[in-house]
């Protein structure tokens, strides 16, 4: 009997997901439909679809972290810079310090994650707005990446140390590793936000932090965890991106934070906090990814792609607001 009830619940969950994300899902499908006509089916080739997934994987990881930050009523502008710092450090440690790739990567991700811990500590313990704290970290981390690399890319010799590159270029069957990473983080983040105590606390802090304090929620710990996690995802992504090129790029990830915010907002996360879902953010990520890919296939130059992206974001959020107002 209770099993029956439980099943009902999960069905509801799937049905609810489609209902909640109706607007963006339709948008995504319409875009795909148009592209299948205009590109003579190239868009739908499995090679291109896998390509899209690989292209969106880094933005997805950043957007997952961003969704957590925005739900707590904050924002994380430092992810693009932390990404660059961790990527650069990972290559540098291998080249300059003769570290094994495993140690170098672990250390680089740890340092990137510590940047997030710092963000979280300052945000939770002071009243400086998250926008300012992470804006400062964005400058500091980017600067640190330039200082460490002297502003030059740090190349890792592909032939001598092939294991570094594989982290970014490897495959499991037909699926590129970055897509696997994305899938793993997607599942972890969905569970974290919707099924765990930590997730509940995240919603409480963003929905009404005073009520959260009055309910015995540890607001300080929650905020610190959120920014630490966001930075971890950024650092991990940075290492994967640089490994892919077998080169630590201090210029990597510029304005990636903006794409992550755009995807999060497209997914319906409220900028004022308390509302949002990882699954919805994923749709936002895919919309931006398909848009970029499609416009590329159509041969539109990248400047126009930016304009198109802006228009889509504005439209999508407007439609979302109309939908909510109606309720």
């Amino acid at each position: 009997m209770s099993d029956n009830k439980l099943q009902l619940q999960t069905q509801n969950g799937v049905a609810r997901y489609f209902k909640e994300n109706m607007g963006t899902l339709i948008g995504l499908l319409v875009m795909c439909a148009i592209l299948s006509f205009t590109t003579n089916g190239v868009f739908y080739s499995s090679r291109n679809l896998i390509n899209v997934l690989r292209q969106v994987s880094s933005n997805a990881c950043l957007a997952f972290g961003m969704t957590f930050a925005i739900i707590t009523g904050g924002i994380d502008l430092s992810v693009g810079s932390i990404l660059a710092l961790a990527g650069t450090l990972s290559a540098g440690f291998i080249v300059n310090n003769d570290m094994s790739p495993a140690v170098a990567i672990a250390l680089a991700i740890l340092i990137g994650t510590l940047c997030g811990l710092f963000n979280g500590y300052v945000i939770a313990k002071t009243t400086i707005p998250p926008f300012i704290v992470t804006l400062a970290m964005m400058q500091m981390a980017r600067g640190a990446a330039y200082i460490y690399s002297n502003g030059q890319p740090i190349r890792v010799d592909r032939l001598k140390i092939p294991s570094y590159e594989i982290i970014g270029t490897g495959y499991v069957g037909p699926i590129p590793l970055p897509v696997i990473y994305m899938a793993v983080f997607l599942i972890i983040c969905v569970l974290l936000l919707s099924k765990t105590r930590f997730g509940r606390h995240v919603y409480a802090v963003g929905g009404n932090d005073k009520a959260a304090i009055f309910s015995g929620v540890n607001v300080v710990k929650t905020k610190m965890a959120v920014y630490t996690m966001s930075a971890f995802l950024a650092a991990f992504t940075g290492v994967v991106l640089c490994a892919r090129m077998s080169s630590g790029q201090p210029t990597a990830g510029q304005s990636f934070e903006m794409d992550a915010i755009a995807a999060t907002v497209l997914g319906g996360t409220s900028m004022s906090g308390g509302v949002g879902k990882i699954g919805s953010t994923m749709i936002g990520v895919l919309i931006i990814g398909v848009l970029n890919n499609g416009l590329n296939l159509l041969g539109l130059n990248s400047f126009w792609q930016q304009v198109a992206k802006g228009v889509v974001i504005l439209l999508a959020v407007y439609v979302d607001m109309l939908k909510k107002k109606k309720k």
């Binding site: 409480a204 009404n208 005073k210 304090i213 009055f214 540890n218 308390g274 509302v275």
Partner: protein, 497 residues
């Protein structure tokens, strides 16, 4: 019959799934105070929003000054001489009093704002309300009660014939309420019509001429205040005879559970001492600013006491945060349920279990969904929370049901000591009676209850004992037999003997 300045006839308004108004009638005469009475969710606010042009009714007629006109928007409504003082304050905290009063209707000289003129007019307005504020003070620096008075001044500045006051005294002290009533009498004498919404029965009898009662979106009737009684009004409101509002059985006090000695958290708490026994309901009275909530905050770990001692079951404890208070068996229903009690944009179920997540997730990282559902269902049933489902957002519930959620989420922690800060503020009569019932039942089960309240009848009828605070100290500890309104006020105003 030219007396009637407003006549709303057969108003219908529907929202998806809810018939909010079903044929409501309401009329207002010149120089009259007409109360609108009903439980939360009865449709009072919806009716006012129709009048204010925020909602457009599907059916019905609104006649203002003999002219039939459905308000299309707020400006339209204002142009017809209607001005509404909403329950939620609509002031900009970063603007001054004068700037707020004239927001949208700035007094200008050419293209520039005439600040001097605004200040002068604002001062005159405030004077007429008996207020001595500098009009250049930022609104954010004022207390809630003072902001409420500014809101009233703003409404008066529009020079409207019809004034709507939605729970204007909810956050006012008795003295401020008296000033407000003076103003209302004055407006009456000037021939204005006033629609007055309040839950406080005593106020209705003091200030209103007629009362219109609504229930579940329907018009129940209109009566002359002088020809009715409190019980008759309540019966019309809840649709049944409410035999008794207050319930308190013979108390059976046990051993001392909480003892507070010389608690200090300057400037509001200056050496508070008292104790609470099992099964006792102790009222805490005092004027606004006497340090009652602040004392509770120290005990509950919202703020940390700078001095003094807290003993639980005779053992001294240190409480640095809410978590530690919970571990010591203390629970608290805060004063402001919207700001401090609930995450309004989340569901009823979510809010109900926010205090017991450690139990639901104990040894299970993904939680015990079954246990959680059972808990939620149990408390919805036990406290008779009226909600279509546990997934309903807390913000969509009435004040009384919201308050029940806050109480339930703390009952779930099975506390030894329950602090209730203004437990029935903004709660309708039906839910109030239920809340008193829960308090009585809890006390009989051995829970020690500290009830902070500014509602004297509530203090007098529910408490086994009353502590009166003044300037951060407990001035008196009055037993049930010696309780009186006069004695409480005597100590609350700091007259010591």
């Amino acid at each position: 019959m030219n007396d009637v300045i407003l006549n709303m006839k057969n108003i219908h308004k529907e929202f998806p799934g809810v018939k909010a108004l079903q044929g409501v009638n309401f009329d207002l005469k010149r120089g009259e105070v007409h109360a609108l009475l009903g439980e939360n969710g009865a449709g009072k606010s919806t009716l006012i929003k129709v009048l204010a042009g925020i909602y457009i009714p599907e059916q019905g007629e609104v006649v203002v000054n003999g002219e039939s006109h459905i308000m299309r928007n707020v400006a339209d409504s204002q142009a017809h001489g209607i001005s509404v003082i909403h329950q939620e304050l609509c002031l900009v905290p970063y603007l001054s009093i004068a700037e707020n009063i004239f927001l949208g209707r700035e007094r200008t000289a050419g293209v520039f704002i005439n600040k001097a003129k605004e200040a002068e007019e604002a001062t005159a307005l405030l004077k007429s309300l008996g207020l001595d504020f500098n009009p250049n003070t930022l609104v954010g620096e004022l207390s809630i009660a003072q902001q409420q008075m500014v809101e009233i001044a703003k409404a008066l500045s529009v020079k409207s014939d019809i004034l709507v006051m939605d729970e204007p005294t909810a956050s006012l002290t008795d003295k401020e309420t008296e000033v407000l009533f003076e103003v209302i009498r004055d407006l009456k004498a000037k021939g204005k019509g006033i629609i007055y919404i309040s839950h406080r029965m005593s106020e209705l009898f003091e200030i209103t001429d007629r009362v219109t009662i609504m229930r579940d979106g329907q018009y129940v009737g209109t009566v002359n205040t002088r020809e009715t009684t409190r019980d008759k009004l309540i019966a019309m409101m809840v649709g049944r005879e409410l035999t008794q509002l207050y319930v308190r059985d013979e108390p059976k006090p046990g051993k001392v559970v909480l003892e507070v000695k010389d608690l200090v958290d300057a400037p509001m708490v200056n050496g508070v001492s008292f104790s609470l026994r099992e099964g006792e309901i102790v009222g805490m009275s005092g004027l606004v600013g006497a340090g009652r909530s602040e004392t509770a905050h120290c005990i509950f770990g919202i703020s940390e006491a700078k001095g003094g001692e807290i003993l639980i079951d005779g053992k001294p404890v240190k409480i640095h945060n809410v978590r530690e208070a919970m571990q010591n068996g203390i629970a608290m229903v805060p004063e402001d349920r919207k700001a401090e009690g609930l995450v309004l944009i989340n569901s009823v179920g979510y809010n109900l279990t926010l205090t017991v997540l450690h139990e639901i997730f104990k040894g299970r990282p993904l939680g015990d969904a079954k246990h959680e559902r059972e808990q939620i269902e149990r408390y919805i049933k036990e406290l008779a929370i009226k909600t279509p489902s546990p997934e309903q957002l807390a913000e969509n519930l009435s004040g009384g049901n919201q308050q029940k959620i806050v109480i339930a989420k703390w009952l779930a922690t099975e506390p030894k000591v329950l602090i209730l800060d203004e437990p029935t503020r903004g709660v309708d009569v039906g839910a109030r009676a239920e809340i008193y019932g829960f308090m009585n039942a809890l006390a009989q089960r051995g829970v020690a209850i500290l009830m902070i309240s500014s509602d004297l009848p509530e203090i007098l009828n529910m408490s086994d004992r009353v502590l009166v605070m003044y300037q951060g100290r407990v001035m008196a500890n009055l037993g049930k037999h010696e309780l009186s309104q006069e004695l409480i006020m005597h100590y609350a105003t700091g007259v010591s003997d």
